[in-house]
């Protein structure tokens, strides 16, 4: 991870991608943006388009149809970018592991940098995960 990425992470713009989740993780992600948790104090903003994003945030167990969409969106993110998987479904598909419609986990489709477990993870866990990611990226530059 180079200087370019470090610079971007002063204020990471996040694109939130739900690949067929139950929306619980999505609600927790939205909760991070509320004044109570106020993730904007770390400079994080939700981007409207994936082409403006530095971080791709994936929730949900990717199913056969959304797998293709995940791949396409990942190709559109300006590189270098980071991928954060949120929730048990995005990590290992949770209880959908034997589903005919969820053949592979998200990290076999696109490279994932941070895994935030939980069903759903609390906003504190999401913030902790992303702050750790930022510190990890910044560390070699110092």
């Amino acid at each position: 991870m180079g200087v370019k990425l470090t610079a971007l992470l002063k204020s990471p713009w996040v694109f939130h991608l739900s690949t067929g989740s139950c929306n619980n993780c999505d609600i927790e992600v939205l909760d991070c943006l509320t004044p109570r948790f106020d993730i904007e104090r770390f400079g994080m903003l939700l981007a409207g388009s994936v082409r403006h994003a530095d971080v791709l945030l994936v929730t949900g167990s990717a199913n056969r149809k959304s797998m293709e969409r995940v791949k396409k969106l990942y190709e559109q993110v300006p590189k270098p970018c980071l991928v954060v998987a949120i929730g048990e479904c995005a990590l290992s598909r949770g209880l959908f592991i034997d589903s005919y419609n969820c053949p592979v986990p998200v990290d076999k489709i696109i490279p994932v940098d941070v895994y935030i477990p939980g069903c759903p993870p609390r906003p504190e866990a999401i913030i902790a995960g992303i702050v750790k990611l930022i510190e990890k990226v910044k560390a070699p530059a110092q």
Partner: protein
């Protein structure tokens, strides 16, 4: 129109079609009918009684397929469920039919569209039955006679022909699927 009159009228009108008539509760009514008379019973419920068609649900009961057509009679607040049993063709229970899969070793389920269990489609009567019949067709492998457009609804386009995921004898067909958590 009273509740008793409606029930009595139903019983009398379809005496030859009804196999079982059970009132689980004042609000819940299950009527098991012959598969071939689904169209006229549904038409009577929908057009003459003014029921609302909620949804149809299908299930693989090992010996037969069961479809429940749920109708809501709003005037009396009665939920009427028409139960239809479709026998499995004997060919489908033998595991060596296969041969329909386009991209992998032949799956054990079905494989030949000719042996699908059949029932009359309700989509020509009311549009609400259209999508749910497409869904039942692709997930359970039931054939709806007279359906205007029996394409796939939910499954991806590269799903192999003749594999029906909600059947009891569904087997994993995808060699690339990973079924462990990697820990």
């Amino acid at each position: 129109m009273k509740r008793e009159d409606v029930l009595k009228g139903l019983k009398e009108r379809f005496a030859g079609d009804i196999l079982e008539f059970s009132e689980k509760s004042p609000k819940r009514l299950y009527i098991e009918i012959k598969a071939e008379s689904i169209k006229k019973v549904a038409l009577y419920l929908y057009k003459d009684l003014g029921c609302r068609f909620n949804i149809a649900s299908g299930m693989d009961m090992r010996r037969h397929f069961e479809i429940l057509y749920h109708f809501l009679l709003e005037d009396l607040n009665v939920q009427i469920s028409l139960r239809v049993k479709l026998l499995k063709p004997s060919k489908m229970s033998s595991p060596a039919v296969g041969g329909g899969g386009s991209m992998d070793p032949p799956p054990t389920t079905g494989g030949n569209d000719l042996v699908l269990p059949e029932i009359d489609s309700l989509a020509p009567l009311f549009e609400a039955a259209n999508w749910v019949e497409r869904e039942l067709h692709e997930l359970l492998g039931l054939n709806f006679r007279g359906h205007p457009d029996l394409r796939k609804l939910l499954l991806p386009d590269d799903w192999p022909q003749g594999v029906y995921p909600l059947r009891q004898d569904y087997k994993e067909w995808d060699p690339n699927a990973i079924r462990d958590r990697g820990v």
